[in-house]
Amino acid sequence: MQLNEAFRSREVTAPLVAEISRGLRQPVRIMEVCGTHTMAIFRHGIRSLLPEQMTLLSGPGCPVCVTPAGYIDALLAAARLPRVVLATFGDLIRVPGSEEASLATARSAGARVEIVYSPMDALALAQREPECTVVFAAVGFETTAPTIAATLVQARRLGVDNFLIIAAIKTMPAALDALMDDPDLPVDGLLCPGHVSAVIGSGAYRPLVEKHQLACAVAGFEPADILTGLLSLIRQIQSGRPRVTNCYTRAVSEEGNVRARMLMEEVFTPADSEWRGLGMIPASGLVLRTEYQDFDGLRQLGIALQATREPGGCRCGQVLKGCLLPPDCPLYGARCTPLRPVGPCMVSSEGACAAFFRYSGEKKSRKGGGETYEA
């Protein structure tokens, strides 16, 4: 039997669903912060089991979704240089930059773009092809940052001098704090991301609880994990005593993974960072420390990061903030579909719009965009 079987069995989940339905006495709005949660909620059909009074909003926890178009433009500029191999996670490859071009279209036009499954694979590629410069698109949250840091430490140790990164690494707590400052965003509770929390620890959400009176539950990604997290949140909300509960103790501790954080801190330092849809948020990103700046692809290749505007009509920003559900965007299902995405939330496999489009019955904008979806 697989380890996760028990977390998916109806014997375990049915009582949780019943308890949520029985216990819920008021309308609640809960944000699932993490894109992997969004996907898991759809994949297991959890929405279809929840009472109507519970609204689930998708948050900013999809790394591809919150990456600004200007960053994609910088990757494209790098990929088009001679003797450069752009190594990226598969998710990023179809995200359009500011002028509709994506890494996929650049690849079709002759640029070398390689999909890798970890930053270490990109480093191995650089070692195999010493005549090329391998540039890794370093996107992610606290979950991927330690492995990127470890890769750079390794590259330095091995003396690999044809390996660079273009970094857009973001950190969660500051972004959540900024988001919760928005008075137009009525959220009663946060389903906190399991993987990120494994690194930063459940204690990292305590300031949010104190400042915003927000219920927080750290949860894993199996149906029983998610339902347990939701149940904990409605109990906190209805009792009026918000706190942080850790419903994912098999992976997350109060203090998190100290070693991973030390590795991150050795290589990166906090900096202000632009989040797509949320704008510039102080100290919400990581940039290379001075000692590691010879790995900085932008500096080494002479590429400037440009500020860009969002595509016309795209409401990914409001979707990422939980202010809008995907079908409320006028482009949804009309100009913007998984096959021809306009905004990042439709591109990423963890994006809220892609999840809605793929798994829910709604294939058209509620705003009546006038165009229909062609299969």
Partner: protein
């Protein structure tokens, strides 16, 4: 590497080197009389029934993988496409596009596979072609096979024939081929627990149609796009809605684990030796028992039903009792797999 151990442009020139390759390698393994005569085309015998005709190209990377190779896929793929309309395969063509520098030993291994699979399936390669392209213009080797089959019954087994009330069967475990290739491409070593399911299905289909032909409505092999996409195709073509149950889907434990690891949904991964069968509900139990007696259908399961007339919606009832829609695969950046 020695010059005589690799394919050169000369091998595709049509001159002496081509002829030597044909006589020393191809004809050594592929022994049908029609091929041996090296005529411009094969003239087949007379057969009673309607003709079925299909073609498929194979560009798999890697060429050799646990459970099979590109040669096996090329034979089974076309046989299975014929079988899905209830046709018995009688002849195949084999066309190769080979990159300059390709190892002769690998070519021999692949042609031997083709021959072995043809013999096991009782079908012959009766015509062929080889082209060699300069280094860098192809990825090792591409294969195209076309096949002719005979439909000896009067039934119309087609993707359009599903009707409300029908039962949906799957002839065995899903995602075996897709995950084998994807995990190889991802460089993940899965300890030899995972194999491609490449196998011919014409015998399994023959057994089904012989037993209860008129109650088998649809046959579909869920190759690229997987079971989910094949079900969507059936639902749309037949104008019906389909409901399947997650807990009834047959999947091998190592395949399920690998899918979790790489983050893939097994419903969207390719199969190369399985078929979906939509049949009349009252025949389902008998057909299921029959399938399980055929080696190719040992792992068969009842996975769902045609829930009503409709616009082609496919719904999955999840293990925890929730429901979600299954969409056809959209152009995701999956590595190529078949």
């Amino acid at each position: 590497m020695k010059a005589d151990s690799i394919i050169s442009l000369d091998h595709g020139s049509g001159g002496l080197a081509s002829q030597n390759l044909i006589s020393d390698l191809f004809l050594k393994y592929l022994t049908s009389p029609q091929l041996r005569d090296l005529e411009d085309c094969a003239v087949l015998g007379e057969y009673a029934g309607r003709l079925a005709f299909s073609t498929d190209s194979f560009v798999v990377d890697p060429l050799f993988f646990p459970g099979g190779d590109i040669g096996e896929l090329a034979v089974h793929g076309t046989i299975n496409d014929l079988a899905m309309r209830g046709a018995r395969p009688i002849a195949l063509s084999l066309a190769l596009i080979i990159e300059e520098g390709f190892p002769l030993a690998d070519l021999e291994r692949i042609i031997a596979s083709v021959a072995r699979c043809c013999e096991a399936a009782g079908v012959a390669v009766v015509t062929g072609d080889t082209k060699v392209v300069p280094r860098g213009k192809a990825d090792g080797m591409f294969i195209n096979t076309s096949g002719i089959g005979i439909v000896s019954h009067r039934l119309d087994v087609s993707v359009k024939m599903a009707v409300p009330g029908d039962t949906v069967l799957l002839s065995g475990t899903l995602a075996d081929h897709g995950i084998t290739i994807m995990s190889r491409q991802a460089g993940i070593d899965l300890d030899g627990d995972i194999f491609s399911d490449t196998q011919p299905l014409h015998r399994l289909v023959g057994a089904l149609l012989e037993s209860d032909a008129c109650r088998v409505h649809v046959l579909r092999d869920p190759t690229r796009g997987g079971v989910a996409t094949a079900l969507c195709e059936i639902a749309r073509a037949s104008k019906v809605d389909i409901t399947i149950e997650e807990e009834r889907l047959p999947i091998m434990a190592p395949v399920a684990t690998a899918c979790e690891l790489i983050g893939l949904d097994p419903l969207y991964l390719a199969n190369e030796g399985k078929c979906l069968i939509v049949c009349a509900r009252e025949a389902a139990e008998d057909l299921l028992q029959l399938l399980r007696q055929v080696p190719e259908g040992r792992g068969a399961a009842r996975i769902g039903r045609i829930s009503g007339p409709g616009a082609g919606q496919v719904t999955l009832t999840t293990r925890i009792g929730g429901s979600r829609l299954l969409e056809p695969l959209t152009g995701q950046s999956l590595p190529r797999i078949c």
